[in-house]
């Protein structure tokens, strides 16, 4: 990537700036440092992964997490690129959590089979509970400080308006303290506090058409493969996870009238949509409660400013149908750590680097954002979509590319090249379609993939 920044100095210097002494509120936990190089708000995947990388590069890192204990997060928790875990030295730990390696992806879109096998790049589906714990232990080993039970309530602004730290609320009415830092990283999810406090605005907002209903089942005999079927309005996926549990997710359009909280309704449609579940699902033992996510808005957020940067779901969120969240968070934490370390030392340079990172993040995420959105739409597919699916279906290499797309190794915009052209030609020569219909579909699809409305 072309980065107008110098190479990182071999060892980034710890911050040596003079900071005003802090007066600790009486009774406050002395575990909280007064000064750090980087304060990371949010101790989930993107926060921990960024913390590990920065701490191991020699920075003093504090990670603040509001929750006192591990809680499970609603997440597709689909790991599409195990290499990202290997980079953090966690691959064997992830494997030891006991999820099977998924060597095949079975995709069936409106009756068109887009399946492929990828034993060279296996995937896994691991519930967040185990993943978050692994990352926190890894963070401890990296030397970063991890503090739970503290909520960020405000930012500390310098005279020039630069964010110079955070103000945190201590647990059990312990009062408020400040932590000063050269950089505040917001890794605090969709309802990001850092974004709220800095006034970061959303842009490129899209309304997703679908809700999502998660259920977990024990002892469901399905093969270790990812199964996703879109049939008419229904989208279901089923994937074996850790500990002998299988995740089954329904993603009905938000205007769907059926009562998805009703277990028999959910299971009846699931068994019809994914035949592999037939006769099995309604007899399997459900684990835990059903989880619901209603109509998740997709967005980008302004992600950098003087003294602050936000990443992960806080900065960008997309339709969950492509299951990119965790891989995105890990990839972003890798690139963000690179930018931070390269520019470490001078604040203006750091702030500039954060803006560059933000731009790079957008360039990286946009194609997949619009692809996910169009993949998950509840509208019936147009003629061109079907032709593109058919074109992809007709070759193993193209189906394999589609699976690499989900690994983030194939740009979704490339579908607008040869596949779209081939689909256009095939659509025009198909007997049951007419020219204007195909052209309308073409402009519709192209606008969608490029993120234009209308």
């Amino acid at each position: 990537m072309s980065l107008p920044l110098p190479e990182p100095e071999s060892v980034p210097e710890p911050s040596s700036r003079e900071r005003p002494r802090l007066t600790l509120v009486p009774g406050a936990s002395t575990e909280l440092p007064e000064v750090a190089d980087v304060v990371i708000v949010g101790g989930r995947i993107s926060g921990c992964a960024t913390g590990v990388r920065l701490a191991e590069a020699g920075l003093r890192v504090v990670v603040l997490e509001r929750e006192e204990r591990y809680t499970d997060a609603i997440s597709t928790h689909y790991l599409q690129d195990l290499g990202l875990w290997d980079e953090l030295g966690l691959l064997q730990d992830v494997i030891d959590l006991g999820a099977p390696k998924l060597n095949a992806t079975r995709l069936n879109m409106d009756g068109i089979d887009l399946s492929s096998v990828h034993p060279e790049a296996p995937r896994m589906c691991v519930r967040r509970f185990g993943l978050d714990e692994l990352l926190r232990k890894r963070l401890d080993r990296s030397g970063a400080q991890f503090v739970t039970g503290v909520a960020v309530t405000g930012l500390v602004n310098g005279p020039d308006g630069r964010v110079d730290g955070v103000r945190v609320q201590l647990p059990d009415g312990g009062g408020t303290v400040q932590i000063l830092a050269s950089l505040v990283v917001g890794a605090d999810g969709r309802n990001s506090t850092v974004a709220r406090l800095t006034g970061a605005k959303k842009y490129a907002v899209t309304e997703n058409d679908r809700n999502a209903y998660w259920r977990y089942y024990r002892n469901l005999p399905i093969p270790p493969e990812f199964h996703l079927v879109r049939h008419e309005r229904d989208v279901f996926f089923a994937v074996p996870c850790d500990d002998g549990i299988t995740l089954v997710v329904a993603q009905p359009p938000s205007d769907d009238e059926r009562d998805w909280r009703d277990r028999p309704v959910f299971e009846e449609v699931a068994e019809r949509t994914i035949p592999l579940l037939r006769g099995l699902l309604h007899r399997a033992e459900q684990v835990g409660d059903m989880r619901v996510v209603r109509r998740m808005q997709g967005y980008f957020r302004e992600s950098a400013g003087p003294g602050w940067v936000i990443l992960g779901d806080a900065g960008h969120f997309k339709d969950v149908i492509t299951g990119q969240g965790i891989s995105d968070a890990l990839r972003q934490s890798r690139s963000l750590a690179g930018y931070i370390l390269a520019a470490w030392g001078k604040e203006p340079r750091l702030d500039r680097a954060m803006r560059y990172w933000w731009r790079a993040r957008d360039a990286d995420a946009k194609p997949m954002y619009y692809f996910s959105q169009s993949f998950g739409r509840s509208l019936p597919p147009n003629v061109l979509d079907l032709e593109v699916f058919r074109f992809v279906n007709s070759s193993n290499r193209r189906r394999h590319n589609l699976s690499r797309l989900l690994e983030h190794r194939y740009n979704p915009r490339r579908l607008l090249g040869v596949p779209a052209l081939a689909g256009l030609v095939r659509g025009l020569f198909r007997r049951d379609t007419d020219f204007s219909q195909v052209m309308a579909a073409f402009s519709q699809s192209a606008n969608r993939e490029l993120g234009r409305s209308g």
Partner: protein
């Protein structure tokens, strides 16, 4: 925008591929808890890779002959996941290679022993089920073989003559018997009487429960990812553990993939089965078949069917397919077979023309080019054994083979059978193998069709061309 989207959408077409369901046995069996996975570094006198009937029966016999011997079974998915739980559950005698050819090639003595072994497998399995009270809907019912054409009848006559000359007296069925046992539409037929019908998945899970109670360790969800045979004892690795084996036995047949020690001579083929919804009283009455036992026709790609315990017709057949490794391509091939199976089902039983089909599934089985099993030590790898290539006759042959393996392990070996060999006739090039086996399967299917074209029109209707 709204006008565009309305104009530019079309209705969704009929699915181009049929998505498979789980085998009907899994859908009707009580849920079976998956066992633990292999953890840490273990040692065992015998490690069996493959938790199907073959592996479990071997473990059972070894344990019975020598309860102190530590036996570990590794299953990549779940017990009964592979060919066992996907079979139709008809356990009967017989070999895939035609009897006259077995005699020509190996002599009468070996042919007699071979056929007797297939009968012995049925008896052994019946004993195991009875002794351990395994609930698997086991029934002693005949297995009827029917000829659709005169050519098939001639082949059948040669087969029966051969069996008779070897001392296995299998009589022709009278027309009335044939109709009662197989349904209408067959020219001639015979029945093996010493046959067991089981629910194969519950047999596998039930046998696994018995083995666990007897101290055999069965690890599920433990696919083998590496086998190290460089030392004196083979070491098998799974993602979460290793086990060092005194002896290692592969009973993975068609699911072997890279573990197949005979890639030049043993290849996997996919066969397909469907199961209807439970039939109503009137549907059963109109079948024209009493619903007892298993039935098979005498084509190269035969149809075979039986009733399940809960009154479903389980119907297999159609051409076998060589898996390509490309899931979408295989799904297209399987879809064609399912369509054909459906056609043949409604031709065979017109009353079931619009019956609901609750399950359609496929399974892999392995075959050698000479259509005989391969059993024995793997050449070049110390203490590694292989039992497989059952060619569709595994349910009885593998039980017998497991018993023989156990006997040899406790130094009381039985005389060797003709399939105790360290290799089968092979094809040297992988292109020739895949293209050759596909071409051969196509040839067999053509031969079936040609044969049937000579039938009178009335008879044709019953076989569903």
């Amino acid at each position: 925008m709204s006008t565009v989207s309305r104009r530019a959408t079309v209705s969704v077409e009929k699915p181009l591929v049929a998505l498979e369901t789980a085998p009907i046995w899994w859908q009707t069996a009580p849920p079976h808890e998956t066992g633990p996975r292999l953890r840490g570094a273990e040692r065992a006198a015998l490690v069996i890779v493959g938790g199907g009937l073959s592996g479990l029966a071997t473990a059972y016999h070894v344990n019975r002959l020598d309860p102190d011997r530590r036996v570990v079974v590794l299953e990549a998915q779940r017990v009964g996941w592979g060919a066992t739980g996907r079979s139709t559950g008809v356990v009967g005698p017989g070999l895939a290679m035609p009897m006259p050819r077995v005699r020509r090639k190996y002599g009468d003595a070996a042919a007699t022993e071979a056929f007797a072994a297939s009968e012995h497998g049925v008896a052994l399995l019946r004993d195991v089920i009875a002794r351990e009270a395994i609930e698997c809907d086991a029934r002693d019912e005949p297995h009827t073989v029917g000829a659709l054409t005169e050519a098939q009848q001639r082949r059948m006559a040669k087969h029966l003559t051969s069996l008779g000359e070897l001392g296995f007296d299998v009589p022709w069925l009278s027309d009335a018997e044939l109709t009662e046992l197989a349904g209408p539409g067959y020219l001639a037929g015979f029945a093996y009487r010493d046959v067991l019908l089981v629910d194969p998945y519950r047999l596998a899970t039930g046998l696994a429960d018995v083995l666990r109670a007897r101290g055999v360790e069965i690890y599920e969800d433990s696919p083998v990812i590496d086998v190290d045979t460089s030392g004196r004892r083979p070491v098998v690795r799974t993602p979460s553990g290793t086990v060092t084996a005194g002896r290692l036995l592969f009973t993975i047949d068609g699911y072997a993939k890279w573990l197949n020690p005979h890639p030049r001579s043993v290849f996997a083929i996919r066969t397909h089965v469907l199961a209807t919804a439970p039939l109503s009283e009137s549907q059963r009455a109109d079948l024209g078949w009493a619903g007892r036992g298993g039935v098979i026709d005498q084509r190269n790609f035969f149809n075979y069917y039986r009733m399940s315990g809960d009154g479903r017709l389980v119907f297999g057949g159609g051409p076998a397919v060589v898996p390509s490794g490309d899931p979408a391509r295989d799904a297209v091939a399987s879809t064609k077979v399912y369509r054909r199976l459906h056609r043949e089902l409604s031709a065979c039983f017109p009353v079931l023309g619009d019956v609901e089909v609750d399950a359609y599934w496929s399974g892999l089985t392995a075959s050698s080019f000479d259509r005989l099993p391969v059993l024995g030590a793997v050449p070049g790898q110390a203490a590694v054994h292989y039992a497989g290539s059952w060619c569709g006759h595994g349910l009885s042959l593998c039980v017998d083979a497991g018993w023989r393996f156990a006997k040899s392990l406790v130094d009381d070996p039985e005389p060797g059978l003709l399939w105790e060999r360290d290799k089968a006739p092979g094809v040297p090039s992988s292109v020739l193998r895949s293209k050759g086996s596909r071409a051969y399967l196509r040839f067999l299917d053509r031969a079936d069709r040609r044969d049937l074209r000579r039938l009178p029109a009335a008879a044709l209707e019953t076989v569903g061309r």
